[in-house]
């Protein structure tokens, strides 16, 4: 009884690559909120029609067959679809662990009861409403009241309260009150995620990126609360890539564990990969998940490390981060196979330094572009 955990290497069968472990269903791009830091593609309004219930059921069954154990539902706001209960029930029946990622808008008592009945395992509530009026979730009492109501409902239904809050330049100074709010709501777990600059967030990068001083203060505030709360509420603080200068392995490696499907049926190795140019995104209505995962050019394009540019090939960290985020490389350099500029060894790292320098400036006041279908159509670009 000495080694209790099998090391992850032992999970890989020698003969054939393992299937995905995690299926994320982005069931809709529709959303009642308009977050300026949304990672959805800016041109989401141009996406094709949403998958039908049967299409989703087929995706769920195939993924489970391949060994996937995690089923996440997000969007957009997934509750805008009325078949979430059906998808959850089937996923749960097949043995998936089911997780709903929601803003809470539309999570009524009746809906929650139906989801519970369907076997939903977990709910992640996002505190992410940067409103047009205030762009400050603290002063927006309507949102707070809604979150409080929803959290009370989910708690009463027996779910642990898990809250995710996206931090950015305009709310990070209120972190003390944000954490206080999470405590008041009775959260067991709070994830403080600094904005990842994809989609709408990239468009709004200047307006969203906090200064070094703001970040340092936020970390200090978090630490103070951690001391005070101990095990009562766990707080995870996700440092932003730009500031940490550490490239991250895309979703644990391109085509390694994660498969996401867009509302209109495209399979992606990472939920933001849709923006990448020159790639053919397989449609789940035209191909089997098995082919998509194992054989499609898309899932093999950035798999492993053989494709890495010279900068990374000679680097000892290449197995650790696979050269970082493909979307970030593309958005910043125009080349999806470049070293992630977040890495100090990247020849394009100056791009990060200049973005950080802009964030230091006090006179930095860029208007926010809020995520909505009209702006999406007008802008008509991926990020």
């Amino acid at each position: 009884m000495d080694t209790l955990l099998v090391p992850p290497e032992a999970l890989q069968p020698a003969a054939r690559r393992a299937g995905p472990l995690w299926l994320l269903a982005e069931v809709t791009y529709r959303c009642p909120l308009h977050c300026a830091f949304c990672y959805n593609p800016v041109d989401f309004a141009a996406a094709g029609p949403e998958l039908s219930t049967d299409d989703w059921l087929s995706v769920i069954r195939q993924a489970r067959e391949m060994g996937a154990a995690q089923f996440g539902i997000s969007g957009g706001e997934p509750l805008l679809r009325d078949d979430i209960e059906i998808l959850v029930a089937e996923a749960r029946r097949l043995g998936f662990y089911t997780n709903l990622i929601t803003s809470g808008v539309g999570l009524t008592e009746a809906r929650l009861a139906a989801l519970k009945e369907a076997g939903l395992d977990h709910i992640q509530l996002s505190f992410q409403d940067a409103t047009r009026e205030a762009n400050d979730l603290i002063t927006n009492t309507r949102t707070f009241d809604l979150k409080r109501k929803v959290a009370a409902l989910t708690k009463a239904a027996g779910y642990p309260t898990v809250i995710n809050c996206v931090l950015h330049r305009s709310n990070i100074d209120h972190l003390d009150r944000i954490i206080g709010m999470a405590v008041e709501i009775g959260a067991e777990y709070l994830e403080l995620a600094n904005t990842q600059y994809h989609g709408w967030a990239f468009l709004n990068r200047e307006a969203l990126m906090p200064s070094t001083a703001q970040l340092a203060e936020a970390e200090a505030v978090t630490e103070r609360w951690r001391q005070k709360l101990g095990k009562k509420m766990r707080i995870l603080f996700v440092t932003p890539d730009y500031q940490s200068k550490k490239p991250k392995k895309c979703m644990n490696g391109w085509g390694e564990v994660f498969l996401s499907v867009t509302p209109d049926g495209l399979a992606l190795p990472c939920h933001t990969a849709r923006m990448l140019p020159g790639l053919d995104f397989p449609d789940v209505r035209e191909h089997t998940l098995d082919w998509i995962w194992h054989d499609s050019p898309l899932f093999n394009r950035f798999r492993g490390t053989a494709w890495l540019p010279d900068t990374c090939q000679s680097c000892e960290d290449k197995e650790k981060d696979h050269g970082g985020c493909r979307c970030q490389a593309f958005m910043l350099t125009g080349d999806p196979s470049a070293t992630d500029p977040v890495c100090p060894k990247s020849p394009d790292h100056a791009l990060i330094e200049s973005a950080l320098a802009t964030a230091e400036r006090q006179d930095n006041c860029h208007p926010l572009v809020f995520r909505d279908p009209k702006a999406s159509k007008m802008l008509g670009r991926a990020f």
């Binding site: 009884m1 299937g19 472990l21 154990a69 995690q70």
Partner: protein, 88 residues
């Protein structure tokens, strides 16, 4: 009053055919358990206390003296939040 271990509600414990192992599932993650861990957790259903779990394991695997191992594992499992103890 006896304390009985059970799987923490943040986790789901199940047999996973693709892994040929028992696993603990939690939001966006999975812990793959080896056989002994799986056999112990299988018995953490809130209905048995520690001596009952040990007795059952010893009977099932024709072994003796498992108490220290089981205790050590459960302490680790509690530390990881995999289990909590309910009063019966």
């Amino acid at each position: 009053m006896t304390l009985r271990p059970r799987i923490n509600r943040l986790f789901r414990f199940q047999w996973e055919p693709a892994q040929q192992a028992h696993v603990l599932l939690y939001p966006e993650g999975m812990v793959k358990l080896n056989q002994s861990a799986g056999e112990i957790l299988k018995r953490c259903d809130g209905s048995r206390d520690l001596p009952a779990i040990v007795a059952d394991l010893e009977a099932s695997f024709n072994a003796t003296g498992l108490t220290p191992d089981v205790e050590a594992f459960l302490a680790m499992a509690e530390e990881q939040n995999w289990i909590d103890w309910t009063e019966a």
